[in-house]
């Protein structure tokens, strides 16, 4: 069952075509990697899928709702983590989680106990009442992710979630993603780190707004004859014209 399905999804800014008629599907429970260089159009595409941006052309169904007409309904069933992590600096860890939990309709009685479980699972319990602005980057990331999936959405959209942290923290982060996927949450993640592609079930590679490849990492490596996704990407990106988002 596709949780995401797009047909010729396009976004234009004036005469500039940021996302160029992309069509693809994502299955339930998949970890889908949306790869591409900076400026390829990944974030723009993802914002359309989240209902943050209106498509210029084309259509899509996300979590069973139409992109164009039911974007507000989509929002009930998804989670989102932006590039900036977007937590409130001047609220504590607990207050941030509580806010989003309440907004997404988690019953009041359940919120506090679930927060405790979550924080102890992450090893954060001591930081419950710390202001987010005092947290180190890696912890902010993990927190933002946890907030995004707290309400058990069908799909969680992650926009460049691992920017700026060391490889160990990145690995830990992907552990969290696996845990979420094993709970049945579909994970749609954009990244420009090609090695992270290996962690996904399937990946697509965007170049200049178009999807130039879409398959499992293994199949892509074989068809392009490369040892790594990095190599695959270089092959594809050689003709790319855009270099910055």
């Amino acid at each position: 069952m596709s949780v995401i399905h797009t047909e010729l999804l396009t976004k234009k800014f004036g005469s500039f075509v940021a996302v160029d008629h992309i069509s693809f599907s994502v299955e339930e429970g998949e970890i889908f990697g949306f790869l591409g260089a900076n400026g390829a159009g990944k974030t723009t595409a993802m914002r359309m899928l989240c209902g943050l941006s209106k498509p210029s052309f084309g259509s899509g169904i996300v979590a069973g709702f139409d992109l164009r007409h039911d974007s507000e309904k989509i929002k009930r069933s998804i989670g989102y983590m932006s590039q900036k992590f977007a937590l409130y600096d001047d609220l504590t860890v607990r207050e941030n989680i509580r806010l989003y939990a309440g907004i997404y309709g988690v019953p009041e009685k359940e919120i506090a106990p679930r927060i405790d479980t979550l924080l102890s699972g992450l090893g954060f319990s001591s930081e419950r009442d710390t202001l987010v602005k005092s947290l180190p980057l890696g912890w902010k990331q993990k927190l933002a992710f946890s907030v995004a999936i707290f309400h058990n959405p069908k799909i969680v959209f992650l926009d460049e979630p691992t920017g700026g942290v060391d490889p160990v923290t990145r690995r830990q982060f992907w552990e969290l993603i696996y845990q979420a996927a094993s709970r049945g949450i579909t994970v749609f993640v954009t990244t420009h780190y090609m090695d992270e592609a290996e962690y996904c079930n399937r990946v697509s590679i965007m170049v200049d707004g178009k999807i130039k490849a879409l398959d499992t990492p293994r199949a892509l490596r074989e068809s392009f004859g490369c040892d790594s996704m990095d190599g695959v990407f270089h092959r594809l990106a050689r003709g790319a014209k855009r270099t910055a988002d």
Partner: protein
């Protein structure tokens, strides 16, 4: 959902100590210090006298003027240009020149002249000051007349007297008019700027995007942002009323409830206005400059400093679109005249229209999806 959003907004507000302090200090400092500043009255006019006559009458005239209370005799100049020089140095505001032959002309020709030169850069001071001085001079003429002529039958020319009476403010205390004016400005500034800047700040940080991706309705979002600042406005108002009462002995002749009610609608209107701007501004700086521009224009056009009735037709038309105009009218009329709600129906209608219009526009122009 509103509950959680309100929790968040209040927590953030309280944690921002600068905002908290400002919300209290600003009204306090403003109302304690500034009401005494605003007066166009003409007092303590500095006089330079050129007495070319040096006669009994000229000295008497000068003494009469000096004892009037309005004029303070700053210096005696040797000639007219000396007097002008004093004006240039701001040592004097007016020069009175009594020409030589003054006494002789008055007694023999029954008609004498003096020359008044007033610094009219401040045209109110200049014109009123010179007018007061002429009145004293002609009074002096009447005194002399009474001494030199036989007593005349009562009806002097045009035998009536004009008696001024100042209602609602018999001692013409300036804080009476400035305290409401300052309150309106404070409310406009605080409740116009703050919620708007709040939203633009979130836009810059990216937390607005995180909110836009949730199922929260934009109406709820905006209401949650408004409520804390609404309360801040009420706090400022209460501080204002308290200071008015305990420091300036200003007690509203009308109902305090009416004041709070109108102020409440005004705050809604002005915050709505700020929010509209915040929806279109991209940075905090932009939002600030835009709101500042509109608020300062509205302040001047609303009759806070100068009466709307003195404005030309186009300006009066413009004042109709300033919510501040209606609130200042309400504040002054309720405080001083004891106007009741029934008297203020027009203002009520106007303020409600503004509140609905701006807030409606704010909600509609807020786009969760771009």
């Amino acid at each position: 959902m509103l509950k959680y959003l309100l929790e968040k907004e209040f927590r953030q507000f309280v944690r921002n100590s600068f905002l908290m302090r400002m919300a209290v200090m600003l009204p306090v400092m403003t109302l304690l210090i500034l009401p005494l500043a605003a007066s166009f009255e003409v007092k303590r006019v500095k006089l330079a006298v050129v007495d070319a006559d040096r006669s009994l009458y000229s000295s008497r005239l000068i003494r009469k003027i000096a004892s009037s209370g309005t004029f303070s005799l700053e210096l005696v100049a040797s000639d007219y240009s000396g007097g002008i020089f004093a004006i240039d140095r701001n040592a004097a505001d007016i020069v009175l020149e009594i020409p030589s032959g003054f006494e002789r002309d008055l007694v023999r020709e029954k008609d004498a002249n003096v020359m008044i030169a007033a610094n009219a850069v401040d045209q109110v001071k200049g014109s009123l000051g010179s007018e007061y001085l002429s009145v004293i001079v002609s009074d002096f003429g009447a005194e002399i007349r009474a001494e030199l002529l036989a007593p005349q039958p009562k009806p002097a020319a045009g035998g009536f007297t004009v008696i001024p009476q100042y209602r609602y403010n018999p001692r013409l205390a300036y804080p009476v008019t400035m305290v409401p004016a300052l309150l309106v400005m404070l409310l406009a500034m605080m409740c116009g700027y703050l919620p708007a800047l709040n939203i633009v700040l979130e836009k810059e940080k990216g937390t607005i995007e995180q909110m836009n991706v949730t199922p929260v309705h934009r109406f709820t979002l905006i209401v949650a942002k408004l409520i804390p600042y609404w309360l801040v406005g009420f706090l400022a108002l209460t501080i204002g009323f308290a200071i008015a009462r305990f420091v300036y002995a200003l007690v509203p002749a009308g109902s305090l409830m009416t004041l709070y009610a109108f102020a409440g609608i005004f705050i809604l209107a002005i915050s709505g206005f700020g929010l509209v701007i915040s929806n279109y501004a991209k940075t905090v700086q932009q939002a600030m400059f835009m709101i500042f521009f509109f608020v300062i224009t509205m302040i001047f056009i609303s009759g806070i400093y100068t009466p709307v009735s003195s404005m030309p037709a186009w300006a009066r038309a413009l004042s109709v679109v300033s919510p501040l105009k209606y609130l200042i009218e309400v504040l002054r009329m309720v405080y001083l005249m004891g106007s009741s709600f029934a008297d203020l129906r027009a203002q009520f209608f106007a303020l409600c229209t503004f509140a609905l219009f701006f807030n409606g526009w704010a909600v509609l122009s807020y786009k969760k999806t771009n």
